[in-house]
Amino acid sequence: MLFAVIKKELLLVSRDIHALLVLFLLPIVFILIMSLALQDRMGGESKERPKVGLWMAADNHQDGELRSHFEQLEGVQVVSFESTKQLGQALQRGEIIGGILLPAQFAKTLQSPVTERSEKLRILYAATLPRSMRRSILGAVRQALGAYQVNQLFKYDEMSDVQRQQRVDHLLGRSLVVTETHGTATQTQPSSVQQSVPAWLIFSMFFVVLPISTTLLTERQQGTLQRLQTLPVPRSYLLIGKLIPYLGINLIQALLMLLVGIHLVPLLTGEGLQLAGNSWLLLPLIIATSLSAISFALLIATQAKTTEQATTLGGISNLILAAIGGIMVPTFVMPELMQQIAALSPMNWALEGFFSILLREGGWAMAGPEILKLLAFSGCLFLLSIHSYKGLTEIK
């Protein structure tokens, strides 16, 4: 008897393609994505080290030893730039995670006694770069300076203890390094809340696929859709009628999550979400993200034949888009190939839009392209949804 029950359960599960997908395919896909995404962060020798830009004022180039130390920084791949402008642009495009600027006379500063000169090395960090990565760059720079200075140390002899200590401090670069975040007027650094609120807001917005597909498929299974299609109302209105309420729901979601980030999280962690000067751009960005999420949901709902199929397909698609799009793992820790793949995910466009506004204090020039990409994506998917919605009654 027990055997019969076990056999029945095995037969049922073996014929449930959605359950099998969730049980077997999803973990395989996740293992692949996460392994690729985190290969540079977790253990093992990294094949691809993050790129850091280097600009040296012309006179510093004459000091071959200094140049050599900075071109071989520990743990990063150094890319030289001919101007600070070029370096800044590369940083903005996300091609490098930071930049090191050696001003004119910096080599002389290192070689001179303590108080004579004050030219300082500048380190620029990408706005989304976490503190741990910032510390790594800073450490590498200090190491390079230290190595250079120790070599210099032997060139100075007769000094008092006090002078020597001052010299050591100077040589270690403690008074010579200043750090700042690229693109922000203030010294605000991205906190965990600034990373997590946009990421999980986008993720949750895309989960409208569940209620939308459930409603549409219930309508279809109950014959309500058939009735609606015999009413004198354009079919596109029926889909637009679904789009608008969920746009409202997404806006409420966004408002709630932003409020939680601004007011509730500081009570727990002491650090809250800060809105920058161009925060008004969040509204078009959230609307564009919402339209993408809803259009994506409508397409899945109109393609799926059962509620189970829609919820499985929708859920798995969202998880994969989130995994490759920088929601679960920030894109800057991903290898270059994965970063290129990330740029295909609409969740990544939305996330980059949020970072441009919240962290980089960017205006329309920075966030606009992401908003336009999301709008184009939602437009295409909505048209496809209307097309497949028209064909729904033909699927018997």
């Binding site: 299974q221 109950q222 014959g223 309500t224 058939q226 009735r227 609606l228 299609q229 015999t230 009413l231 004198p232 109302v233 009654t393 033909e394 018997k396």
Partner: protein, 307 residues
């Protein structure tokens, strides 16, 4: 009211479903559309209600065509599907308000039309209840009420009495009669033959994508008593042909193993039976009397099971 000419249709990657269908349904008639599962009834209704476009042929509803005059046709048409085509999470009133709001010309007298639909279907006292709590009969009545919101001149009813108690069934059939008496043309599909016989004045029986018979109910069922004699199979083809010729000379038809015809009186029936006995032919089954729709249906569509 409805005119179908040479309609052809098949679903993508499927064999032809409707083959050169011609059909005319007069204004004010109560038209019964019959056929076994898979005969093409639902597809035919989907074509007549504009949900599908024919691959060949022409459909005219009151002289208008899909898709050019879709809105104009649908404003005066109602399709009441077999399924409970409403929102169970909404109340009766909320469902009616929603569906009524989808008719552009109804905004002024919407509440009045909702009241009329509630009254006709006896749902007035249930209007604030959630539909999901309803019995099968009440759900059928709500399904009907939604279809009546636009005061349709043409109503397609797809098996509206499936799975309900006799009282609800009686009520719904009575409501359909009243609607027809009020001037609405009704196209009614059902597997309950006695319902069609009670209700409809025109009937069409279809199978394998073709209309097999079509016309006034009385004409189709014949006014005179009908004789049907089922014989044991005749293996010898020559013998079968001789019998067929002989019966035809007497005014009877032989189709497969069944002899059918309209004898004048009892003595003519006896004569025929003696003739069969003299030819050593065994009778398996014999029926004599007025034709019923069920008999005709099985004669035309056979009794083998359908998918």
């Amino acid at each position: 009211m409805i005119k179908l000419q040479q309609i052809e249709y098949h679903y993508p990657h499927h064999p032809p479903l409707l083959k050169a269908v011609d059909l005319a349904i007069a204004r004010g008639s109560l038209f019964g559309l019959l056929g076994p599962n898979g005969a093409g009834k639902t597809t035919l209704i989907s074509l007549m209600t504009g949900q599908l476009q024919p691959l060949a042929g022409e459909i005219l509803i009151d002289g208008k065509r899909y898709p050019e005059q879709r809105t104009s046709i649908l404003e005066k048409l109602a399709h009441i599907p077999q399924e409970y085509a409403f929102y169970p999470q909404l109340s009766v009133q909320e469902n009616l308000q929603f569906f009524a709001s989808l008719y552009p010309g109804m905004s002024r007298d919407r509440n009045q039309l909702i009241d009329q639909a509630l009254a006709l279907t006896g749902l007035k006292q249930h209007q604030d209840k959630l539909a999901k709590h309803f019995s099968g009969g009440l759900k059928r009545r709500l399904n009907l009420a939604i279809g009546l919101l636009n005061k349709p001149q043409l109503i397609f009813l797809d098996e509206p009495t499936v799975g309900i108690d006799p009282q609800s069934r009686h009520f719904i059939l009575q409501s359909i009669r009243e609607l027809n008496e009020g001037g609405s043309t009704i196209v009614y599909t059902s597997h309950y033959m006695e319902e069609i016989e009670q209700l409809c004045d025109q009937v069409a029986i279809m199978d394998h994508g073709k209309i097999l018979v079509h016309g006034p109910l009385g004409q189709i069922l014949h006014q005179d008593p009908q004789l049907n004699i089922e014989l044991e199979p005749i293996a010898d083809k020559q013998r079968y042909q001789q019998l067929s010729d002989s019966l035809q000379a007497d005014g009877y038809q032989l189709s497969e193993q069944t002899i059918s015809g309209q004898p004048k009186d009892q003595s003519e029936v006896n004569e025929l039976l003696q003739k069969l006995a003299s030819k050593n032919l065994s009778v398996v089954n014999l029926s004599y009397g007025k034709q019923t729709l069920e008999k005709l249906f099985f004669e035309l569509t056979q009794t083998h099971l359908r998918d």
